[in-house]
């Protein structure tokens, strides 16, 4: 039944007019929905309201999942389903037919690429996720305090989250490539230091500083020595002073650094730098998101608990371990599982930053899927889809763990 709505006549402001229009819209929709309700029953109306979202979800998420599952059991190179022969488990056999999963070299070529991606992704997740959670927690703890410019700092840490992953990677590529900003800075710093060392001012300053340090050390020791041995201490001090003079005044080249040779941060194969920077850049780009969740968790902890602890004389450290951490644990678990799931999906930043190289050192699972399907002459959609099914299985397990943990906490 519709209720009488006052006319807009006499509406004092635009706000009142908007309210009136909103109300009229409600009236207009009321009729059709009442008719639907009569037809399906009140208890099913929730599904009617969910239907639009379900349609979108079904079309753009559920249907592609079904297609992917089907393609995982087909072969050939065509993207058209009708032209793809059913091959059963052949794609899975190629991926899983290794002599040893720990040594991807023993797999067929598709499995070699897949398992290389698996191990790299696992390593990435096992290192990156704890680092991310700890750093996000520390940042949230700092930004939860009543510091000056708190809002500004929160925005600063959250800002990278709003950037496209590709932009993040391109920015860091400028920093890290051989002719990039980091190498320029390190080169300039080395040159600057080497230019400073031979100057008389630097030598005098260094001489004074080291002299003072030796003097302070000798005096400290001398005070503990008996009177008779203090002369010996004075002689040792004089000898050390002489060495200092010789080292810093006559031989300044001792402090000169060798010419800086730019480091290939993203390419140096055996140094481990590429994986380090991949983890660093990814953490930098995503930190703000998890920090924000933890910050919300921290703010939901009642202040009176801390006040009571203060009154009992509990130290700050004990407050953290006994109040903050236990009460933050449900939020921490959400952050942990979310970041773990995201870590298994890592692709954009790494692909732009290193291309999966050097060699295959930073090749992740999703890159393997992307390259199997879209790169190269033989487009292996079946292998890519089968790999996706296997990854989906891992993600499903992680998601169920998250659900279980959340339910357990909720009691």
């Amino acid at each position: 039944m519709t209720t009488a709505t006052p006319s807009p006549k006499g509406a004092a402001s635009g706000g009142a007019l908007a309210l009136w229009l909103w109300s009229r819209l409600g009236d207009a929709l009321d009729g059709p929905f009442r008719a639907v309700q009569r037809h399906v029953g009140a208890h099913r109306m929730a599904y009617v309201f969910l239907l639009p979202n379900l349609l979108v979800f079904g079309l753009f998420s559920f249907w592609p999942m079904i297609l992917n599952f089907y393609i995982a059991f087909t072969g050939g190179q065509s993207v058209l389903l009708g032209e793809r022969p059913f091959v059963g488990l052949e794609n899975f056999r190629e991926l899983l037919g290794c002599q040893s999963y720990l040594d991807p070299k023993t797999c067929p070529v598709a499995g070699f690429s897949f398992w290389t991606g698996v191990w790299n992704t696992l390593f990435f997740a096992l290192v990156q996720v704890p680092v991310m959670v700890v750093v996000a927690l520390l940042t949230a703890l700092v930004l939860n305090r009543d510091i000056r410019g708190r809002g500004f700092w929160r925005a600063v840490y959250f800002y990278p989250v709003m950037l496209s992953p590709v932009v993040v990677a391109v920015i860091w590529d400028w920093v890290l490539k051989r002719r990039g900003i980091l190498n320029e800075w390190l080169g300039d710093a080395t040159d600057g230091w080497n230019a400073l060392v031979p100057t008389i001012g630097f030598r005098l300053a260094a001489f004074a500083l080291v002299g003072l340090l030796i003097h302070a050390a000798v005096m400290r020791i001398a005070r503990r020595l008996p009177e008779a041995r203090r002369t010996l201490a004075a002689r040792i001090a004089a000898a050390l002073g002489s060495i200092t003079v010789v080292t810093f005044v006559l031989t300044p080249q001792a402090l000169t650094l060798p010419d800086y040779r730019p480091i290939n941060w993203l390419i140096d194969v055996r140094s481990g730098w590429p994986m380090f920077w991949v983890i660093f850049v990814y953490t930098w780009g995503h930190l703000g998101f998890y920090m924000l969740i933890l910050l919300a968790g921290l703010q939901s902890i009642p202040k009176d608990l801390y006040e009571a602890a203060e009154m009992d004389g509990t130290s700050k450290g004990r407050q953290f371990w006994r109040i903050t951490l236990p009460l933050l644990m449900p939020t921490m678990i959400v952050v942990l599982v979310l970041s773990l799931i995201r870590a298994f999906q890592v692709f954009d930043e790494v692909y732009v930053l290193t291309g999966g190289g050097p060699g295959q050192a930073t090749k992740m699972l999703i890159q393997h899927i992307y390259e199997s399907a879209f790169i190269g002459d033989a487009k292996r959609y079946g292998i890519a889809a089968a790999s996706s099914v296997l990854v989906a299985g891992v993600l499903l397990v992680l998601t169920l763990l998250q659900l279980a943990a959340t339910r357990k906490r909720a009691g």
Binding site: I267, V269, G355, P358, T362, F374, I375, G376, D377
Partner: protein, 429 residues
Amino acid sequence: MTTAWKGPGLLALGLTTSLFAATATPALAQTVNLRYLCYADANECDVARDLLDRFEKANPAIKVTVDKVGFAVIREQLETRLQGGEAPDMARVTNLGGLNKYYLDLRPHINAANWEANFATTLPWMRVGPNDKGIYGWMTQLTVTGPFVNKTMFDQTGVKMPGAGATWDDWAKALAEVQKKGKIYSGMALDRTGHRFAGIAISMGAKYFDAQGNPSAVVDDGFKATAERVVQWHKDGLMPPDIWPGASGAKWKNAGDMFINSDTAMHIAGSWMIQKFQSDIGNKFEWIVPPQPCGPAGCSAMPGGAAMVAFKSTKHPAEVAKVMEFMVSEPIIKEYYERTVQIPAHKAVAEKGLTYGKEVGEQTQAALKQFTADFAKISPVAHQLQAYQRNVAIFNATVNYVAQAITGPLTLQQAYPKIQEEIDNAVKK
């Protein structure tokens, strides 16, 4: 209706009627829109656009949109678009045989005899099998792989540059000396593609095909000799880590910027880089194209190039053919090759010779001359490989696994069977 409204009313009716009449006769007014997906090493798409402007003036009913994209789009996305029915009408491609099944045979709409006469060498590159007589496109460039050398570095370091007939090993030795004396980042940089690798390998004796013309034993002694050298040159620091080790899988990487920035004394690329080096290097240093280095089996380069091809999914085959005929008409194609500074693939144009513009310097002219001379020495194996439908699979497998032998996950002995396995997979499918 009042009298005052009668005049405008009749006018509106008249206009509506005329509009209806105009739209009801599509042949008179409808414009055919064609799309040309184009990648460029230098100015190829811009020159094509300029020439197509003239075509559009002469044919107002046909509009051609030039979609300028990166090479990666052509290499990685075009085939998926073709399969999905989202293809352009024309594209500039390098995977000539690999995309054969999508090509439009232009013969019903063009002067086929003229095309056969002028593109006899390169038309087979777009065909598959002996029975395929289709005409699918024309070569926008004829390329020859080969090295570019920074002559200034040789002069400054006082190292004698190897001459004609010098082997790849002679060059490696000389370049190592230049690198050491000149404190240069690297001695030689090879583009990250199996196509560049193949030129060296064929000179080293690689056959790529068995007696039946199948790539059943690609990894032979010539191939291995090249792979061993490439791995060793990386270990010695002669080749930079930025290119082959600097990516994964079969990802393509061009070392041109390293040459331009004087980070290497030699860049192994090909004739398509001439225009870019001319414009980007300018007078910074003197560069030359030396005679092709040799191996025990000869001094072969790899031929290649990009073709402008038409796709059968087009709704306007006749109009596409008209564009193609225009582009290969002698004055137009001559101008295209001259302005893009390419080796001509059109026989008549090549015979008459090209007049490159004044902006084309002496070293560019010399480079073109050298590459043209190298073309004559190309091994039949190289031509066979270029014309092979699945050659990209061979190139990709090479770069994927040799790169892993350089970076360490595999030894060369472990890489060889994987190269063959990947090629077999591609051929089988």
